[in-house]
């Protein structure tokens, strides 16, 4: 299915040979349409990304106990905690990057906190929506109190985050994965090398500006473009 060449701008994605706009930033337009080929009007739509706002006290549930206990045990609380967010029954503490190891230490050791287990460490890339685009997310679990809490730090590209491996040795591979996938450097990590990608790989694949890297597939005579170049319905 090929459209005869016309003068002027072509509707993107209408022809198989013309790759559709990659959905790198899903904020603008719909149906993968950009440029002037759009007659639907949807191409001009801009979707706002909602701002993350702090939650007002009281937070409800055990969240007040956790934040109060942390405030009591940690003198730098007001300085280190940027924001407390309660959403969908989960507590998130946004923490200044340089303080994360200290906070993790208190979270693990304080009698009334006791987050013994660091369940997960991973990254999220908020390209174009946060100047400090790289976020590192720590999910801690307290087996004593059966609680969970999420710590989140945000850094711009090229700024390192203190490693929590001295507090939670389990973060070793998980920080390596975050470095591998997002390029976040963890200062003080004993062996910060790639863990999933090959050692000589260039780039950090989970970043939003890193393409999916698919290849077009021929199926029953038609060529299907790779997923990141298909027309998408956003």
């Amino acid at each position: 299915m090929s459209i005869a060449p016309q003068d002027g701008p072509q509707p993107v994605g209408a022809d198989i040979d013309a790759p559709a706009q990659a959905p790198a930033s899903p904020q603008k337009g719909m149906f993968g349409i950009t440029g002037t080929g759009d007659v639907s009007g949807f191409g001009g739509l801009v979707r706002r990304r909602p701002e993350v706002v702090g939650s007002p006290k009281p937070y409800g549930g055990y969240f007040d106990e956790v934040t109060d206990a942390l405030e009591e045990a940690y003198p730098g609380f007001a300085d280190a905690i940027e924001r407390v967010v309660v959403d969908r029954g989960e507590l998130t503490l946004h923490i200044k990057a340089e303080r994360i190891a200290e906070v993790a230490q208190i979270m693990r050791d304080d009698e009334s906190l006791r987050f013994e287990l660091c369940s997960s460490v991973s990254g999220v890339d908020y390209l174009n929506s946060d100047a400090r685009r790289l976020h590192v997310v720590y999910h801690l679990a307290s087996m004593t109190y059966r609680r969970r809490v999420r710590l989140e730090v945000a850094v711009p590209d090229g700024v390192s985050v203190p490693s929590v491996t001295s507090v939670y040795p389990t973060a070793d591979w998980q920080e390596r994965e975050t470095y591998d996938m997002f390029g976040v450097v963890f200062a003080g990590h004993p062996n910060l090398t790639r863990v999933l990608m090959p050692d000589d790989w260039e780039g950090h694949p989970q970043r939003k500006d890193y393409p999916l890297g698919g290849v077009p597939v021929e199926y029953k005579g038609a060529e299907i473009p790779p997923p990141d170049q298909r027309r998408v319905y956003q």
Binding site: M143, T170, A171, P205, L212
Partner: protein, 441 residues
């Protein structure tokens, strides 16, 4: 140019030739006493039958004693998390199911629970859908533990255990095939419910299985537990206590074998697990033997849960009532797996244009998920499976991270193996039950 420490040179008819000597290599080799120093570095894997898939271990050995071991992973990295970001939320189940291929239904369950929590519809999942999920997760737990028994048996020299374990697992895969159309990689759990109802024939098969497996379990125990070789290979091998487990983030049967009864089905229930009666088996030996005992006992507990789930299974809807989320098509199992039922196709193509539009919008575009992030953890056969899902308000996931227990648990290999014998590395590694598909994702 001919200072000491630099290479000497001489002219020949072919040109200039340098004689290269490697720095202080001679002094290094000269100082090693070949009789007292037997240190060798052995590369085991990634293609090795005893490393459970493509796990590579770099071992530094002195004689048969392991001085240092470094696990190397990543050989099965397939970019599942990245791929999810280019498909809509419902399509995600077909990707996550391929991560840990021995426990596909757990990957799906973790992902679906995360999406449902993001949507705020956890309470609206129907009773029948939740019961089916529990039923199938427990069947999957048994099949995963059976593969553990089978492969570990093989690695420690009990080849017949391998054949028996896979034989019984086949029974469970038949049940899965009858229900979802596929033996593995089912994409059976969907955000909002399950893809289709369990047929009566599958229920009957499950009932038969509940009678069949306990007899077989007795056979396994008769074959292994009293076996001296099995005892010698497992007792006191690869010990890791509770402190070590928590520091390294080890969960699941390995943690329970050290004595801590931490099971998310009990401690942080989901899918209605709080309504089932079952025990959390533990051991105190913290060794491979303890893990074997815990897993066998867990199979029995899973059978108890399955029996209760079958009794609780009442007729009713299997998908959420909200038409903006529920999959529009009635699916049916055909000869080539699961697809749209012919009746549904006839209706949207012949009778109702609105149904067609609705179907088209939901299938091509998908539903929108309000912006935010959640973390959902479930008890996987190997430990805590966590799914961290982030939405930007669109129809595609913005980011999904799977905290896979295989990945985290593999960090324990050096702690278990260093100072022990080479053969115990195999037993210790096997007792973690790593699945590289889940580890590398």
């Amino acid at each position: 140019m001919t200072q000491s420490g630099y290479a000497t040179e001489r002219e020949t008819t072919e040109g200039r030739v340098f004689t290269v000597t490697g720095g202080d290599w001679d002094t290094v080799t000269g100082s090693v006493d070949p009789l007292s120093n037997e240190k060798i570095v052995v590369n085991m894997g990634p293609q090795h039958p005893s490393t459970h898939g493509v796990l590579r271990l770099v071992l530094e050995l002195e004689g048969e004693t392991v001085q240092e071991v470094r696990p190397v992973v990543g050989y099965l990295h397939t970019g599942i998390e990245k791929n999810l970001e280019y498909r809509n939320w419902t399509q995600g189940t077909t990707f996550v199911t391929r991560a840990d291929y021995l426990a596909p239904l757990f990957n799906e369950a973790g992902y679906c629970l995360a999406v449902e929590k993001l949507l705020g519809i956890t309470d609206q999942i129907t009773e029948r859908a939740n019961t089916i999920r529990v039923l199938f997760m427990e069947l999957n737990r048994i099949s995963s533990h059976l593969v553990w028994l089978a492969t570990t048996g093989m690695e420690l020299g009990a080849i017949s255990m391998m054949l028996y374990g896979f034989r019984e697992r086949e029974y469970i895969l038949d049940i899965f095939e009858e229900t979802s159309g596929l033996r593995m990689n089912h994409a059976y759990f969907r955000p909002g419910g399950v893809a289709q109802d369990v047929p009566e024939s599958a229920i009957k098969k499950i009932r038969d299985f509940l009678v069949y497996l306990p007899k077989k379990l007795k056979e396994y125990e008769a074959m292994l537990s009293g076996q001296v070789i099995w005892q010698e290979r497992t007792q006191g091998v690869a010990v890791l206590d509770v402190t070590g487990c928590l520091a390294l983030g080890i969960t699941g049967p390995v943690l329970r074998s050290a004595g801590l009864a931490w099971d998310l089905r009990k401690t942080m229930p989901y899918c209605g697990y709080e309504n089932y009666e079952f025990d959390v088996p533990t051991a105190t030996t913290a060794d491979v033997w303890g893990r074997y005992q815990v897993r066998l006992a867990e199979i029995r507990e899973s059978l108890k849960i399955i029996e209760q789930a079958l009794d609780r299974l009442r007729p009713g809807p299997i998908f959420i009532a909200d038409k903006k989320i529920a999959w529009p098509a009635q699916l049916a199992v055909g000869l080539d797996g699961m697809g749209n039922s012919l009746e549904h196709v006839a209706k949207i193509m012949g009778q109702s244009m609105e149904s067609l539009i609705h179907h088209f919008k939901l299938v091509t575009e998908g539903f929108r998920v309000p912006a935010g992030q959640v973390y959902v953890a479930i008890e996987h056969p190997r430990g805590e499976l966590g799914v961290h899902a982030v939405s930007d308000g669109g129809t595609h996931p913005y980011r999904v991270h799977m905290r896979d227990p295989s990945f985290v648990n593999l960090q324990a290999i050096p702690a278990m193996a260093e100072g022990a014998l080479l053969a115990d590395v195999i037993a210790g590694g096997a007792s973690l039950d790593p699945v590289m598909g889940g580890c590398d994702r």
